[in-house]
């Protein structure tokens, strides 16, 4: 299988702080990969570095054949990456419909059909489509943020802790939707909620202090309580 995203020996920094110091990841077409690790390990920074929102010091990031290092964030997105940040990144002073419309890229021809499709996945959003996003609950914001990544035909979608701060019932709804989405999309999922990660991903990478330290199949990690205890604090 062709690799969609390949990250090699990635080092990145914010200001004077080096955050990532050796991350290696490969995502193949159609896969859903989980990025695990304790708080502050560098998971969010990895996604931001891929998006060009955090500066790369050395190493490589390849989307298919294209290098993403050193090019502006909007070019990276336009190459076919959807990004769902940790804090949703929803535009408060746009309606739901406008948030979705703004996310449609110039080269996406079937934007309206795709919006109709995400409304089918998240009927809540259709009902509230003309409401300003600032009035939405955390769960609705997360749905909107994920939806924005679905209105284009992305090569890969980066999702940062979709379950964070949400009520268990909302997480369940999201889990069902994400499972559905993962059937048609390639996903790199950062997730602290272990059971959610297991439900969606087939393989995992564990990041510790800015380095990828272990990787493998999710089934094997589920068996390995020792590994879970060491790196995930479960």
């Amino acid at each position: 299988m062709a690799s969609i995203l390949k990250v090699e020996n990635l080092n990145s920094y914010i200001g004077q702080y080096t955050i990532l110091q050796g991350v290696d990841i490969e995502v193949k077409k159609g896969e859903a990969i989980a990025i695990l690790g304790r708080n502050g390990a560098g998971k969010s920074t990895l996604l931001k570095t891929i998006m060009g929102l955090v500066n790369t010091r050395s190493g490589s990031i390849l989307l298919g054949e294209d290098s993403l290092v050193g090019i502006p964030t909007y070019d990276i997105a336009n190459k076919g990456i959807g990004y769902v940040p940790e804090d949703y990144g929803v535009f408060d002073y746009l309606t739901i419909a406008e948030n979705l419309k703004l996310a449609i890229r110039n080269d996406t021809k079937d934007g309206d059909d795709r919006i109709a499709k995400v409304y089918d996945i998240f009927p809540d959003l259709r009902k509230a489509s003309e409401r300003m996003a600032r009035t939405l609950s955390g769960g609705q914001r997360q749905m909107l943020s994920i939806s924005r990544a679905l209105v284009n035909d992305n090569k890969i979608i980066l999702i940062d802790e979709p379950s964070k701060g949400l009520a268990p019932v909302v997480i369940e709804t999201l889990a069902v939707a994400l499972k559905e989405i993962s059937k048609e999309s390639t996903i790199l999922l950062v997730e602290q909620n272990f059971s959610l990660a297991c439900a969606i991903a087939s393989r995992y990478y564990i990041i510790n202090e800015g380095r990828t330290v272990v990787n493998g199949k999710i089934e094997d990690l589920i068996q390995d309580t020792q590994l879970q205890a060491t790196h995930l604090g479960i």
């Binding site: 998006m51 929102l53 964030t73 909007y74 997105a77 990144g89 535009f91 002073y93 746009l94 924005r148």
Partner: protein, 296 residues
């Protein structure tokens, strides 16, 4: 009653002028977090560009369009070569825009000299109409119409166009706008230049009203515009519009009834607003948009 109506029209037309200058400031502040201290110079350039073209062509419309175009281009230059390097760095922005203000006013003096150049209102709009004993200046009516038209048009653009969506989104989360594949820097340049062009329009319309252009005309108008954006809620467009008309009306009435108070009132109102409602009089609880804009 008669004087009341005259003052009302004068106040609204002053407000329209203040609005043209403050609207550009508000948009630039709201989207980019830049306090543009060069706005006064852009205003003066609008005035001189208008006079230059008007004297050459004798056309009011051409004069106005040329003023807006020239100041739009200046805006592109300001943004591309100076301001764009300093996003997120407020002290540096203040210094660079103050510097640009001084330099570009000096350039005016080099080209056009230090003495005021007299300019009459174009004939078709210079008259007055007397209704029930109240004298109404046609030019002031035109200012009100233009001010309100600009308000409606800019509001429409902000609400309905893609540019408007990018601006509303970018004020809050410019990083996320980029992560959706949008080159927000391009929008920054266009919006900065459009804000500049509005200042140019204000300067062009002000010259015939004042009866002359002079290189120092920017300062006072810039201060009024700053007061308007503070009262309106920093970077809040419709709040700035309301504050501009409020200031215009207040100036007209205070100047008539208590002339010695005319200058202090504006500053006094601003101080009161800052003390008791620092997010602005018309900010609908949308507080501290400035901080949001600077954060990126």
């Amino acid at each position: 009653m008669d004087i009341f109506l005259t003052l009302f029209i004068n106040g609204l037309s002053e407000g329209a002028l203040i609005f043209l200058v403050s609207s550009g400031l508000a948009i630039i502040l709201g989207l980019m977090g830049v306090v543009n201290f060069a706005h006064g110079a852009l205003f003066v350039w609008g005035g001189y560009a208008y006079v230059w073209i008007y004297q050459m062509t004798n056309s009011f419309i051409l004069g106005i369009l040329a003023a807006m175009l020239i100041v739009f281009i200046l805006g592109i230059i300001f943004e591309k070569f100076f301001v764009s390097r300093l996003y997120g760095n407020a002290p540096a922005q203040i210094l660079i825009t103050l510097g640009l203000n001084i330099v570009f006013i000096e350039i005016i003096r080099l080209i056009w000299g230090n003495t005021p150049i007299a300019i009459k209102k174009p004939d078709f709009i210079s008259g007055t109409t007397i209704i029930n004993g109240v004298t109404i200046s046609h030019y002031r009516i035109l200012l009100i119409i233009i001010g309100i038209s600009v308000l409606i048009i800019v509001n429409y653009i902000l609400k309905n166009s893609k540019t408007g969506m990018v601006i509303r989104a970018g004020v809050q989360r410019s990083d996320m706008v980029q992560a959706l594949g949008i080159n927000i820097r391009l929008y920054f340049t266009i919006v900065f230049a459009a804000g500049a062009a509005l200042a140019g329009l204000g300067g062009a319309l002000y010259a015939p009203l004042a009866g002359n252009v002079i290189s120092t005309a920017g300062a006072n108008n810039q201060i009024l515009a700053f007061i308007a954006i503070v009262i309106g809620g920093l970077g809040n467009f419709s709040g700035t519009a309301k504050a501009s008309f409020l200031l215009g009306l207040m100036n007209a009435f205070v100047a008539w009834f208590i002339p010695s108070f005319a200058v202090v009132t504006n500053v006094l109102v601003m101080a009161i607003v800052l003390a008791f409602k620092p997010e602005g009089l018309f900010s609908e609880g949308r507080k501290s948009i400035l901080r949001l804009a600077v954060k990126k």
